[in-house]
Symmetry: C2
Subunit: 248 residues, 2 copies
Amino acid sequence: MTAESDFLEAYDPRAFPATAVTVDVVALTIRDGRLHVLLVERGEHPYAGRNALPGGFVRQETLEEAAKRELAEETGLRPENLGRIHLEQLATFGDPDRDPRMRVVSVAYLAFAPSLPDPRSGGDASAAGWFPVDDVPELAFDHGDILAAGLERARSKLEYTPLATAFVGAEFTIAELRAVYAAVWDEELHAGNFHRKVLSVPGFVESVGATTERGGERGGPRARLYRAGDARLLHPALLRPTREDDVR
Amino acid sequence: MTAESDFLEAYDPRAFPATAVTVDVVALTIRDGRLHVLLVERGEHPYAGRNALPGGFVRQETLEEAAKRELAEETGLRPENLGRIHLEQLATFGDPDRDPRMRVVSVAYLAFAPSLPDPRSGGDASAAGWFPVDDVPELAFDHGDILAAGLERARSKLEYTPLATAFVGAEFTIAELRAVYAAVWDEELHAGNFHRKVLSVPGFVESVGATTERGGERGGPRARLYRAGDARLLHPALLRPTREDDVR
DNA sequence: TGAGTTAGTCTCATGGAGAGAAGGACAGTA
DNA sequence: TACTGTCCTTCTCTCCATGAGACTAACTCA
C-alpha cells in the first residue's frame, strides 16, 4: 500500500473550497399538554437577537456526538443524563446562501425528551427557552424550514414507532401516552379506542403491575402504570387521521 | 445594519477547520425484474479499484443540484432528461475517519429511475455499471452502509408514496407496477389483491383508456394501461408483509 | 386446435378501527 | 355522608381493509 500512503501524504486538504459543517437540533418536549421546541436567542451576527435552533460547528467528533453536545450545552443537562432522550438525524440543509458568512452545510437532528426544566434557570445557557411550536417567532437562517421538517418527522414517527414513550417518564399511564399523541398530532383521540389499540400492539408497553397513587386531579379512578416495551416498530401502526389535503 | 455588514466583511471563513462536503448517490433501477444499483469503479486512492457509489465534492450549487450533476455524469444522461427521475435526500454520513484523507461529510441522495441504458456504453463514464443489489461487491468508504440505508428507505417509501411509478415508463400496466414492488421488496405479491388495492387508492394511477398492443409473452389477455395519478401519498398505504423479526 | 398463461373480477373469512356506551373508582363539594 | 362530575377501562356494534382462493375470458405459443 505504498502508493496509497504516498498519496495520502501528498494530499492537501486546502485544495477544496472552505465549507463549514454545523449541526442544528430540533429538540421537542411536551409541557402543559402542548408541544414545545427549544430555541436560543442569537447574541451575534448574523441574525443577532433573533431566535434560532440550538446548534454549532462540528468538531473532531461524529455528527451525533456534536448534536448531543449542543443539546447538553443548551439544556444544561449533563451528557450522561441524555440517555433517555431520543436523538435521530433529520436532514441536511446546504443551500449556498443560507448563511451570509460563508458556505455552511447544516446537519439537522431531532430530539425528543420528557419534560425538562426551563433552561433559563440552568445558568450557562442564558437566553434559551421552550416555545410552543404553534407560536414560534420568526427564526434565523432557514431554521423555520428545519423546524417544519422536524415536526413532520415527529408526527410521522409516532405512527409506526414507540417514540411517544420518549416524551413521558419511565413509568406512565395510557392517558399520559394519549396526551403525547394528542399534543404532537394536535388531534383529539378517542380514549377507549386508543387504550385498546395501545395494549393490542405487541411490545409497545408492558404493565408495571401498579397504579398511580391517586386518581386524576379532577377525579376518576387510579390508572395502571406501564413502561416502554421492547418493540422497535409498532405493528399494526397507529395511523393518525388523514385529511384529504395531505394526500394530494 | 452597519454593524452586521462590518461583521460580515471582517469575517474570516478560514477560521474553521477544513471540512469537505460531498454528495453520494444511491441510484436504483429495475432490470430483468431485479433491483439494481449504479456503482462506479474508483480510479484513484483511496480505495483505488474498489467499487463505490457515484459522488463527488459539492461546488457552488445546492446539494440537490450536486446530486443531479453527479448522477448525470455517471449515467451519461443529459440533465434535462433527469426529469422523470425521482431524487431525494437520504441521510448524511460524517464519521471523522470515514475518509482517510481528511474530514469528509457526505450527504447521500437516493434516486429512482426507469430502466436506463448501460452506462458502460455511454462513453465518458467508463467504469460504471448496474449491479443487482443482492450481489454487490464490497464497497469503498462506508458506502455499504449508505446503500443499506437507501434500500431500506426505498422499501419503506413504496408503502406510502406512489414512488413505484418512478421505476416504470410514463404508461404502464398494473402487472408492471406489481413487478416493481416485488423486485424492491423481494416478495411475491398476490396479483388479484394487488390489482384491487392499487385501483382503490385514490390518485395512485389513472387509466389511459388503452391497452397493451398484445398480450404477455407467455399468453394472457392485453392489459389496460395506466399513468401516474396526482396523489403524493397513498392512503390507505400498501403495507408490505411484516415479519415479526423486523418489529423487535 | 389445444395447452398454458395471465388480466381482471369476485367471494368469503378475518381482523383492525371508529363510534358509542357502560361500569366503576375517585376527587371535590355541599 | 351524599352527591356530582371526571375519567380510566372494558365492551359492543358496525364498517372496511386485507389475505386467500377461485373463476372467467383473452391471449400466446406449439
